[in-house]
Symmetry: C2
DNA sequence: GCGATTGTGGACCACTGAGTCCACTCTGAG
DNA sequence: CTCAGAGTGGACTCAGTGGTCCACAATCGC
């Protein structure tokens, strides 16, 4: 089932299924997205889905992994050159812009977490990994800020990164509910001020 | 359908249904909680459910309203006597304790928001009202802190309250995913420091 | 007491859900 | 060319879904 011994063609089909499933789940939620919907949207059949995944749970795990990987890639790129507080503000602005580009639909990983964390151990593990990887990226940037004395030194990078992550997730939730990015901006401003050296 | 022209008995039954539905939805999610589950758990029948609510959507709206009301009552009580930053820290500790008491299951309103915001206008409206009421309570406390110069004055109470709310929601999400209240504590510490006068 | 209203039980329906199964096609290594 | 295995199509099962309906029980105002 893992995409190891798959043909080029097979991998392509598998990717298409996960990709479409991710979009549908993001739009409507994991619980109410049916396999039939995914199949219709991809133009594939049941047998293919069960060929590549272990049922709906397997597919949703793959969706979690995909969204986590996407966020990881995006923020690795956005955070790579963050060395100053001003850079960090740039990251925040880019993050807000990204959220707006997605119609303030919320955090793809956060939504899955709210819905699937605690449902099964497999989900839990995949979600934890996703958030941990994201937090590590943030912690890396914070550590660089600490080196140049732009970030406070009385907290570990991990702690500061966790605080930023919570602000981001909460901001995205409120932004989604209110259909306004203001909350998100407020939250990120708070987080950055919290990271800054006093 | 609204609980106006209901008998004592009828109101009791209606309350029991909403109450149980809220618990099930909190535990498993709104999408995957079936009406039959609710009926079995309450020992009622289909006709009763459709007598008191307009289908599943009506029931879920009532669930949102109930959870919002509960949070409102709880935090009205917790915030009533908050006049100093130290009081606010007490509120934060009580909030963390409450989350732990509920097994770090996340925010009852936040989960509903992640799952239902954007699904229908009815949900959206009910959720917005819920968060707005909650934020107002926080804003009230912040305003009192501002009067005694314990909170910064360069932000409106509403803005500061929104920031606290995002930290709380984000913290609860991460706490649920990681099954640890540490993130929540970090987030609330950040939020309170953000509110504090410098 | 009595009749209208409210509350209740549960059978029933059409439909959709996840998951199974088998026959078929494609493809690539030998 | 061939044939094993990967990839595909789609019919099928059957448990559950939201929702409808109607007969019956409890209750309240008069």
């Amino acid at each position: 089932m893992p995409p190891g011994q798959l043909t080029e063609r097979g991998r392509h089909t598998r990717d298409r299924i996960v990709d479409t499933a991710a979009a549908l789940v993001f739009a409507h939620g994991a619980g109410v997205t049916s396999l039939d919907e995914v199949l219709e949207a991809t133009g594939t059949s049941k047998s293919q889905l069960y060929h590549y995944f272990e049922g709906k749970e397997g597919l949703l795990q793959a969706v979690i992994a995909l969204q986590a990987a996407r966020l990881h890639d995006l923020h690795r790129r956005l955070l790579r050159d963050v060395h100053t507080l001003s850079d960090l503000r740039g990251w925040a602005a880019a993050t807000v812009a990204e959220a707006e580009r997605h119609g303030l639909g919320g955090c793809p990983l956060g939504m899955l977490a709210f819905e699937l964390a605690g449902v099964s151990a497999g989900y839990q593990q995949e979600l934890e990994r996703g958030f941990a990887g994201w937090q590590d990226l943030l912690a890396g940037a914070v550590a660089r800020l600490q080196e140049s004395d732009e970030a406070r030194a009385d907290r570990t990078p991990a702690e500061l990164a966790a605080a930023v992550l919570t602000a981001l997730e909460g901001g995205l939730l409120l932004a989604r509910t209110r259909r306004s990015a203001d909350c998100l901006r407020l939250a990120l401003d708070m987080a950055i001020a919290h990271v800054a050296a006093r």
